[in-house]
Symmetry: C2
Subunit: 453 residues, 2 copies
């Protein structure tokens, strides 16, 4: 729904609230998609939230609850009676419930758990126990499980009775009596079969691609992308079916992983919370280690400059171009490192490609180096009012720096990956620190050769 | 399939090729998933590719062809007879065909188009005409279209006869005689209905959420994420159904958009090609404009330094800490800008939040500034062998710089978005250039106050 429509609806809802016309309000709400109802409720002042939420029919209420922002959920749970809470929780899918519990403060979690039916509580606990970022934490435990002897009608009845989420219906998994995964059959296969009485056994695919529950969630999504699956079964160490991952979970994982990459590249410790839900102190904790580390590492540039202080004070004109040289080196190196990091992360480049990377970056850096040197030389003579010697020194340094920076930017992420680090830490801020030192060393070397100082 | 298994299979295939045992080779291949066959063929030397490909059964061949890398596809098309080409193309889905055509050189495209059945050619042309990044370019034109009067069995027969891709079957769209979209019905709804003879009319949802064919592909994916859809119908200006977007397309869009964001943030012009498929010259073209722009913009820092050259040569100790100050400012600003850019891009932060951002960053920057100043002061006295005055100058500057840098990093992306630029251009390299100038100005100001120079 587009923004203007939502705005209109929101005004209407507020009017109806003022007029206390709850019947009209209810009939306005039930026309809408649950995600939209949640969006509207989220905009209301806190005191109106429970009034509107209580107008929703039972099934809509639970689904809508899952879409609400955590702070609105907490507000509601606080005013719910135990009975209301029980009803909402009974209507939630296990994976949504896990998401909610992970966001709530401890006292609210206690109340939720107290009001959860025993079997569901077991499942929630199971998912919460899996290691961070494992397949187990993104899977859902509600799915359709078939037996070999079923016919189409029996499968359909089974689906009808399971009451599971829509996206988890279309790929059904077949298990043996000890719940080991032995086949997969899609609803499409069943529909496509002309013979109504064919059994699951005859139609199922027995080469099932599955993920282990402890596997990294990223590799699960890679499998789904590779084979174009909308769902992937998850098994335990003994090949027993424990859950399935669906395509909407995959979307979330891809987005989360990209955000994480981006944060690490910008020298921030990744967090799972959104910007405004992270407190000032938490934000400080995410950023300060890297700022400190990078500040301390600049001790190398300080030492280099202290060493060459005499040269610089003797030829003050050189000082003015240090930031430009360091900046260009950092940018050139950062461009490469970020490209390589991203390509490694989405599987377009592999560790074994290191020589190909070096060769390619060498040629690119020669082109870039020459372009920058020529433009810089002309610009310095025209604008900066310096001697040809100084202009030449800076221009030669710039082209050498770019070649070295692109080399460093190309190999560091691959080396990081090989020794088991996340390549993303080798992004611009880190490369910049190294390139700063390299460019200064080159600068003084070239200066002493060209200017004889 | 895990890497070792693939390696084993690949060795086996090569052995069978040497022994010319094509019967065993064929039966090995047909056991595998099409994506895996394509992966294996991609590793073979060029001369073996057609031999292996020709062993595949007709349906497998087309699907496998869609998974191959563009260079392998081109190799195959070059050796195909017209008849072979026709067969492969006949088995391709329209959206896969569009992807292939977009990657091929013009002469190959001509040959493909010549060997494409008329109706398919029309559809391909239609998709190719939509503007870049629009919904039209990611949709598929093969889907199940139902009429109101159909019953479950009739729908299933319709699905059987359509022969469309799996992921496009489960949400079926209902159109009126002039092909206008009037409803949506999922296969699950049909299965869930106890009454076998209920018609589409009675079961369908009439509030259909759809995208316009010219809409940006990113907003299409946002809709799918918001409502948790596995497919979304695409309509033209008159609400006629022209295609659907499925969840695997959404995955690709999310990944592409993140890569684009990351590239822009690293001051690279985004490209749709992978790293190794971009030529050296193209890579140069993607990177050099930004390097030049950033190099030229450092004219400000040069001017500042030229202006203060006297101060610096008079107190040489100050020179050594310039890179550290500029680096820290750039890192601090970059951390904020990247966080804000990403949050804007995934919709967690909005333009109207600018005051909240400033207030939050102000508090974070005070904490970061104090921490860095204290650590730096102690480090300079202990390691750098400088006077208390110099240590104090640098430390005070650092804390002021961090506050200003975080302010700039917080507001620039939002301002960029407001005036219609992509916020991602305001990432680290750009912020760094501004922060360099700001930190130097602050440095000289503080130095003249504390050291009296």
């Amino acid at each position: 729904m587009i923004d203007e429509e939502m705005q209109e609806l929101f005004d209407k809802i507020q009017d109806l609230l003022v007029q206390k016309d709850y019947i009209a309000l209810r009939s306005t709400l039930i026309e809408l998609q649950e995600a939209d109802i949640a969006g509207l409720i989220g905009e209301l002042p806190d005191e109106d939230v429970p009034i509107v939420f209580r107008l929703l029919p039972k099934e809509t209420a639970a689904e809508c609850f899952a879409y609400l922002e955590p702070d609105v959920q907490a507000t509601l749970i606080n005013v719910f009676s135990d009975r209301e809470l029980w009803n909402v929780i009974a209507g939630l899918y296990v994976d949504d419930m896990v998401d909610i519990i992970e966001e709530m403060p401890a006292n609210v979690v206690m109340r939720i758990i107290r009001n959860t039916p025993y079997e569901k509580r077991e499942q929630v606990n199971m998912i919460l126990r899996y290691p961070k970022n494992s397949a187990g934490t993104i899977m859902t435990t509600e799915f359709v499980e078939l037996k070999q002897w079923m016919t189409r009608e029996q499968v359909f009845r089974n689906i009808r009775e399971s009451g599971v989420e829509k996206e988890t219906v279309y790929d059904c998994y077949v298990t043996d009596p000890s719940r080991r995964l032995i086949g997969v059959i899609s609803v499409k296969d069943l529909i496509m079969s002309e013979d109504e009485n064919a059994t699951v056994d005859e139609l199922m695919e027995t080469e099932v691609i599955s993920a282990n529950v402890l596997e990294d969630r990223e590799s699960v999504v890679d499998l789904m992308k590779k084979y174009g699956f909308v769902a992937l079964p998850v098994t335990d160490g003994e090949n027993r079916l424990v859950g399935i991952v669906t395509s909407d979970d995959a979307l979330t994982v891809i987005e989360d992983e990209s955000t994480e990459d981006i944060e690490i590249m910008a020298a921030i410790t990744p967090s799972e919370k959104t910007y405004f839900r992270t407190t000032v102190f938490e934000t400080w904790k995410m950023r300060i280690p890297w700022l400190l580390f990078l500040m301390i590492s600049s001790v190398f540039t300080s030492k280099i400059l202290q060493y060459f202080e005499g040269q610089l004070t003797a030829n003050g004109a050189l000082i003015a171009f240090m930031p430009m040289l360091m900046g260009t080196a950092g940018n050139a190196g950062g461009q490469v490192s970020v490209t390589i990091i991203r390509s490694l992360s989405i599987g377009e480049v592999h560790m074994s490609d290191i020589l190909k990377i070096i060769w390619k970056e060498f040629r690119v850096s020669i082109l870039c180096g020459i372009t920058l040197a020529v433009v810089n030389f002309l610009k310095m003579l025209a604008v900066d009012n310096v001697t040809i010697g100084v202009a030449l020194t800076v221009s030669v340094t710039i082209s050498l720096t770019v070649v070295v920076a692109k080399f460093i930017g190309g190999i560091l992420p691959v080396i990081a990956k090989r020794i088991g680090f996340d390549p993303a830490v080798m992004a611009s801020p880190f490369i910049t620190t190294i390139c700063d030192a390299v460019s200064l060393l080159l600068y003084f070397r070239v200066a002493s050769m060209i200017l004889g100082i």
